[in-house]
């Protein structure tokens, strides 16, 4: 019997009697849910993502996450250019740590060609990747802290990032879109005096980080906003394919650098910080501690940096030195072949992962024997992490959307490709 019938029932005593019932909580309350649209250009959404949340009071009961606003057709464009020309596109995937993308792409094609670059090149790639990882984490933590009101932290972290970006500029010639990698080598060797400058920058970065630690880690406001928010258990993290700092914060001990060492990562002694609870606070701590591990790796790599060439000696993969081009007929022919036809890997397909700033960044490339890739697929960690966003949001309050989104560290370029 529906509510309306209950109220007006003929009880056979003449006329219609109103059936009385005790008042229940919520009778007069406005009980409809409300739909709130966040983004795609909300100032606190770091990239352009749209979150549509269904609210009951302040609580999120349902959410829909929309990505794709920065889709530029990376994979389609890669099919139209040769293997080295993909490098600038790869820069624009995760533009906060572009060198890791470059290194990932180079390693994929080197795996396809079945060659290995010299030790010095591997070490330089490690150093540059780790500097990039530090800048990635600094950006993520700084921006997230700012959104919770800690503006000073953001300024400190951006200042530290600036120190490192200046060094990156010195090596590569650019700050963000660096195109430093080359298949089979690198664009250039490290400049003179790079090591001492890097160590000095690290010292200053550590000072900034200590200040941030004192401002945040035991700050009551920060802890209350971050603890037990957006919890993902270990099993859920594995089921949702979470890798990188987000997966490790949930206690999922998987780091590509440890599990499948590439580019001589097995030579370095470092630890992988793990979280226990899988909430926002764990994600913060994991990133914070990873910065120090990255610094450790860089210091070891600088100390052990071997001498030697930075590129393999194969004219079909790497451009020949200029004096050979101008002074020998072979050099001239090889130079023109490389410029006109590019690298031609044998037929086949490979998948090669690297540990990106946000998680496992994998390239799946199919070669059909010509100068252009037949197919390129990027396993973009940001994109996959957005898949768990809905699960994290439901049950949290509206104010928690921004810190959860910040701690996932979605990078628009990588997520939407």
């Amino acid at each position: 019997m529906s509510k309306k019938n209950l109220l007006n029932v003929d009880y056979g005593v003449g006329g219609v009697t109103t059936h009385m019932r005790p008042r229940e909580l919520g009778d007069d309350l406005h009980s409809e849910t409300m739909i709130v649209n966040l983004g795609p250009a909300h100032p606190a959404t770091h990239g352009t993502a749209r979150i549509v949340a269904e609210l009951s009071g302040e609580k999120i009961v349902d959410a829909d996450v929309e990505v794709g606003y920065l889709h530029r057709g990376f994979e389609k464009m890669c099919e139209t250019v040769d293997y080295n020309q993909v490098m600038p596109y790869a820069d624009r995937l995760n533009y906060v740590s572009p060198i890791i993308n470059n290194v990932g792409w180079c390693l994929t094609i080197e795996k396809l060609l079945e060659v290995e670059v010299p030790k010095r090149c591997q070490y330089i790639r490690v150093i540059m990747s780790e500097i990039s990882r530090i800048t990635d984490h600094l950006t993520c933590l700084g921006a997230s802290a700012m959104e919770l009101g800690a503006f000073t932290v953001m300024l400190y972290m951006i200042q530290a990032r600036e120190l490192l970006w200046e060094l990156i500029e010195e090596v590569t010639g650019a700050r963000l879109t660096i195109s430093y990698g080359r298949v089979g080598g690198l664009k250039a060797d490290l400049p003179d005096g790079f090591g001492p400058k890097l160590l000095k920058a690290f010292d200053e970065t550590k000072k900034f980080l200590d200040d941030c630690d004192r401002l945040l880690t035991r700050n009551r406001i920060f802890i209350e906003r971050m603890c037990d928010v957006g919890v993902v258990t270990r099993d859920e993290a594995i089921s949702y394919s979470l890798t990188g700092p987000v997966g490790r914060a949930s206690g999922f001990n998987y780091d590509v650098r440890k599990a499948f060492p590439y580019s001589s990562y097995e030579d370095f002694d470092f630890e992988v910080p793990l979280g226990t609870k899988g909430d926002n606070y764990d994600r913060f701590l994991v990133r914070y501690n990873e910065i120090f591990e990255s610094i450790k790796i860089c210091e070891q790599a600088l100390a052990k940096l071997p001498d030697g060439p930075i590129a393999i000696d194969d004219p079909h993969i790497v451009l020949v030195p200029k004096d050979e081009v101008y002074n020998s007929i072979d050099g001239m022919i090889n130079h023109f072949e490389m410029v006109m036809y590019g690298i031609k890997p044998p037929k086949g397909d490979v998948y090669m992962p690297v540990e990106g700033g946000t998680g496992e960044l994998g390239f799946y490339v199919i070669s059909d024997g010509t100068g252009n890739p037949y197919k390129v697929h990027v396993r973009a960690p940001s994109f996959i992490h957005m898949g768990v966003m809905k699960k994290m949001l439901v049950g949290q309050s509206m104010a928690d959307v921004v810190p959860i989104f910040g701690m996932i560290n979605m990078i628009g370029g990588e997520c939407d490709r």
Binding site: D64, E66, V67, E236, S239, S241, D349, Y351, E360, I384
Partner: protein, 197 residues
């Protein structure tokens, strides 16, 4: 696991357990690869995940390859899996014909597969059956065609879409889409945009 003999031994193990599903297997450039039939996808992946010795617990990615000139079986769905227990990656390939462009969804086996299957559908038009939220993800709902197919031109342009009403229901979609159209002429595009409107 990088050692070739170890990898071969692991492939033997998979073959001994699930050999009746496997059509072909290989180790190439350090990558383990298998090929299975389309009908056995769900059973095969369930067993791969649950078997105590294999335990492929992490679903890495799913994508589609468009072999346009390959004849009837035009698409190849490629899965990448990882077993954290034995530190092994596995690539699984499945042929899907163009006429019947469907494959079973594994989003019930690995929750993370849901988002990646949406992307594969969006880009290639391969339908993942049993997926409860198969919508466009990187492209917008009004987009016509599948951009990563080889017959979709790189320079193709599509008309601007109408301003949407702000309701959420508008982002949910109508799964009944037209088949792929070859966008070559401007008139064709306009016709499509009218159809969408």
């Amino acid at each position: 696991m990088t050692n070739v003999s170890e990898q071969n031994a692991f492939l033997e193990l998979i073959n001994s357990k699930l050999g009746h599903y496997i059509v072909a297997s290989s180790v190439d450039k350090g990558d383990l690869a298998l090929r299975i039939n389309r009908e056995s996808v769900l059973d095969f992946f369930n067993l791969l995940k649950l078997d105590s010795q294999l335990q492929f617990n992490l679903f890495l990615s799913v994508t589609v390859v468009d072999w346009m000139d390959a004849g009837e079986e035009r698409f190849e769905v490629v899965y990448h899996l990882l077993s954290t227990q034995s530190k092994t990656r596995l690539r699984v390939k499945v042929w899907v014909p163009e006429q019947d462009c469907k494959i079973a969804s594994v989003s019930k086996v690995w929750a993370g597969a849901g988002f990646m299957e949406r992307e594969a559908w969006d880009m290639y038009g391969v339908v993942f059956e049993g997926h409860d939220d198969l919508r466009r993800i990187l492209m917008y709902d009004e987009f016509v065609g599948y951009p990563l197919r080889k017959d979709y031109p790189v320079q193709a342009k599509q008309p601007r879409i109408q301003l949407r009403a702000p309701e959420v229901s508008n982002t949910a979609l109508n799964m009944k889409r037209d088949n792929l159209v070859k966008i070559t002429k401007k008139s064709h595009l306009e016709e499509n945009s009218r159809k969408v409107a």
